[in-house]
């Protein structure tokens, strides 16, 4: 991390959640800005936060609307959305509107921190690409297009490789079906194709394809490649 503390804007109407986030994140070296509603949140945007944690259920505006407004003003700031289980459609919508990731309430602090790191890293990553991606015993050399599990090289079809490449480029971040389909096929909208390629990719790179360790399913939302440790 750089010397200047990362500034996190927490938008949530529940004081206990804000308090929890303040304590947890401050202990991790983050600087916290708090907004109990959409109005304050928009005002605090001028303080140029490095990351926004946004609760979708706000008293004065719908979280998705606020998300759109923020994206309209500042398109690069990473946004992690807090949502509830069962609202998969809301999550997908938030991601499609430009959120970087989501955490399902109730959440553990470790999970939130991981998501925040992934979102921040992705932002940094766009500036300096790293040549070889490693997670567990999987390594992907994006320059030479070589994929290995341990020492064994894995032969991937071009589509499988493209899928893995997109996942690697956004490692740790959830990617919606729509996003992946758009990246890989342009014109296809049926997630079924995606599932077929994910299954094939898993059979090649996972030790146990039924209990994958790298390419993780976010049920109802999309896929996520495990972030480097």
């Amino acid at each position: 991390m750089s010397a200047a503390p990362v500034r996190v804007l927490v938008v949530d109407d529940e004081p206990p959640i804000r308090k929890l986030l303040r304590m947890g994140l401050t202990a991790q070296g983050y600087q916290i800005l708090e907004a109990p509603n959409a109005k304050t949140a928009l005002e605090l945007l001028k303080d140029a936060p490095d990351l926004i944690i946004l609760d979708l259920g706000l008293p004065d505006a719908h979280g998705l609307e606020l998300l759109q407004t923020i994206r309209a003003r500042n398109e690069s700031v990473p946004i992690v959305v807090l949502s509830s289980r069962g609202d998969e459609a809301g999550k997908v919508q938030a991601l499609d509107l430009g959120a970087d990731d989501y955490v399902t309430k109730p959440f553990g602090m470790d999970e939130l921190l991981a998501r925040m790191r992934a979102a921040l890293r992705h932002q940094l990553q766009t500036h300096g690409e790293r040549p070889v991606f490693r997670v567990g015993d999987l390594s992907v050399d994006l320059v030479r297009r070589i994929v290995k599990t341990g020492e064994r090289e894995v032969k991937l079809s071009p589509k499988e490789y493209d899928l893995l490449r997109v996942l690697v480029q956004h490692a740790g971040k959830v990617l919606t079906h729509k996003f992946l389909l758009g990246e890989l096929w342009d014109d296809l909208t049926d997630a079924q194709y995606l599932r077929v390629y994910v299954r094939q990719l898993r059979q090649k790179i996972e030790a146990d394809p039924e209990q994958p360790r790298y390419v993780l399913t976010e049920t109802g939302v999309g896929y996520r490649l495990r972030a480097p440790d």
Binding site: R85, G86, E88, A89, P106, G108, D190, A191, Q192, R195, V196, V198, R199, D208, P209, E210, Q211, P212, L216, T217, E218, T219, G220
Partner: protein, 907 residues
Amino acid sequence: MADQRRDSEHRPSPEALLAAAHREESRIGRLRIFVGAAPGVGKTYEMLQQAHARKKDGYDVVVGIVETHGRRETEALLEGLEIVPRQRIEYKGQWLEEMDLDAIIARRPQIVLVDELAHTNAEGSRHPKRYLDVEELMGRGVDVYTTVNIQHIESLNDVVAQITHVRVRETVPDTVFDRADAVELVDLTPDDLIQRLKEGKVYVPRQAERALEHFFSPANLTALRELALRRTAERVDEQLLTEMQARAIQGPWAAGERILVCISDDPRSAGLVRYAKRLADRLHGPWLALYVEGRRSLQLSEEERDRIADTLRLAEALGGEAITLPAVDRQIADDVIRYAQANNVTQIVIGKSARTRWFEILHGSVVHDLVRRSGNISVQVIAGDTLASQPIPKKSVRAAEPDDPVNPQPYMFALLAVALALVCAEVIRPWFGVENVDLVFLTAVVGVAVRLGLWPSLLASVVSSLCYNFFFLPPIYTFTITDPTNIAAFIFFTIVAIIVSTVAARARTQVVAATDRARGTESLYSFSRKLAGAGTLDDVLWATAYQTALMLKVRVVLLLPEHGSIAVKAGYPPEDILDDADIAAAKWAWENDRAAGRGSDTLPGAKRLFLPMHTGRGAIGVMGIDSDKPGPMLTPDQRRLLDALRDQGALAIERVKLVEDMDRVERAAETERLRSALLTSISHDLKTPLAAVLGAAGALRDLREKLSEAERLDLLGTIIDESERLNRFIANLLDMTKLESGAISPNVGLHDLGEIVGSALRRAGRILSHHKVELELAPDLPMLELDAVLFEQVLFNLLDNAAKYAPAETTIRIQSWRSGSSVCLCVLDEGGGIPSTDLDHIFDKFYRAQKTDQVRAGTGLGLAISRGFVEAMHGTIVAANRTDRSGAAFTISLPIPQARQNLEAAA
């Protein structure tokens, strides 16, 4: 009936209390009748004076109708009282004024004055009789003051006619009089009345002047006055009786007198019935009118049948019980005595026979038989009065004349049979001789009697004897007989032929009657069987309408109450629109529980006749019938059949409604059970993890320094685990709510089963940390149409369940294989399995196995949700015990998508 009222114990009889309560609480208006012995005694005057007194007391009094007949004293009294304007009704080009019933109802006074209760309304009014108007007003909660002269009381009609030789056509049923809350006698001595008449103070219509001159004789007036006094006294007696019953005063009540009056087709039966009514009133006993349907009943003309039905109805109108019995014995008297004894009758009233001596010898005399065999039952033989043979005025529904003219066909056949016998006789004469050919004719007579009935066989008898004489008795071909032996033979032949034909015809009549009765019973039975089979209200209504329409050849509509009114619910042929007149008649029939519409007393202008349908518990609906036939629709037989059909239909409707009520109660009980289970579940399952979290957090805060690092971590672990449990519980509650509110609409797409299994395992990772998981998924499983989120939840719940019931360190196995056109997925654990008694209920809400020994942490919702979700995805889920070892096995079966099956079939 009244004998039930006579309760020997010292407590108010329920019926008396009910009657009083009914009067006092159901806002039925009270009726005060001012009774006078004759016109001119001052009833209207007295009524108006009391009206003024009430008005002074602050009551809202209006005049509905008062006839002053130009009397100045009376007119003066009208001043200061609000008068509801009369309505004008046009009848045959004449304008008649009548009381405006609707205006009074709209005005809603507390007391309304309605003069001359016995008045007959102009045609076109709602009710033909004014007392019906009064009943409606009372039904609407308005108190009514009215006047009536004693000769208008139905049961006194005969007596008055006897005394005065003037028969009054306008009568008021006794029940109206008896039901009055107060009866006030306006009395004037005959001398005073005659004095007033002379002074011109009594209104006399011109056309009746002469009759009235005779009417107002001192003797008549004295008799009428006595009648009025007596009738009012009887009423006071009744009131006293009611009072005594209500207060349980043990009184000197007559010891169970019970009167039975025998009625026949004799026109004087009506007089008998009225006599029985008065007798019963005097004795304070219940009474009943009995008609025994004997052999002769079948030969009655429709007019006679109608008279019997009318007499029975009169008995009911007068408060008696009307009973019809089929004859069992040869002697009607035996039937009457048997019924009387079975029903504790103390007195039998019967009319003096007007039969000829000859008739009595032939048919026997019921009166004589009755007197001879009655034992300890008194028999009163009443001489009929010819005046009483006037037709009974009131008829609620007019009946149709059955179109049954004398059919000549049987007579033709009878003659044909005799002709045939003649030919036979001619053929056999050479061999058998003249003495035996009469048997051939007798055979023909018997045959005719058995096949065609009495009259054709009598014709055959006569013709046969003539033929016998003409063709066979010498000198032949003449009607003269020379041989005295042959004269005897001829006479005896004639007598035998007539007796044989009578006996055979009687046998036939009985067979026909029995067949008819059997057919009637059979059709009613089949109707009730159809009704019993009908499960829903619609079915019952339809069956009732259809059967009634079929059996009576009429069109039928059925109306049931709905939103405070009634609406058409079924019809045959189907019909759901009634015109305004019909709707009004149907409503009236429903509200007043009486017949209305075509052919009845009320709104006879309607297209249909509406009859209320009721059971012992009250009115249930209204049946409307109509047919294209002009005039009255039903013969008396059909009317009786309709009554039976209506009763059965009403019972069936009530039954279905009761079942529906019971269902509702049961559902309410089930809801109640679930609600209490939910409360128990919430209080336990919500509070347990909360208590653990609170306790652990409290310990961490308060005992921080005294705890070792390991203990602190343990407490923190508890907090996290219990919070997650709480979270799962709440999620389950939410899922259940969604399922029950029908908010689950699966978002299906083609999914890889293995992928969902994987994500479910990942989510259940922490729960399964103490168990081993083994996956056995067939490699070539097709993709399935699933909602991934729902299915993951199903698997998660099953895994959660397995982790809960199987001991730690055992293996949870997930197997999946293809089975025909579906894919099965099975979650097996190594726990104790499911008790067989629980297998049926395990998917029920809030159901938890092994209730007795230990309560596992859980909601009892997980499996219910799983089933709900699986079924939403068109799959099935079953619970079983493992066969290879102990443990539970939950198997989900999901169909392979049709497209995929087609693809495979093509390949």
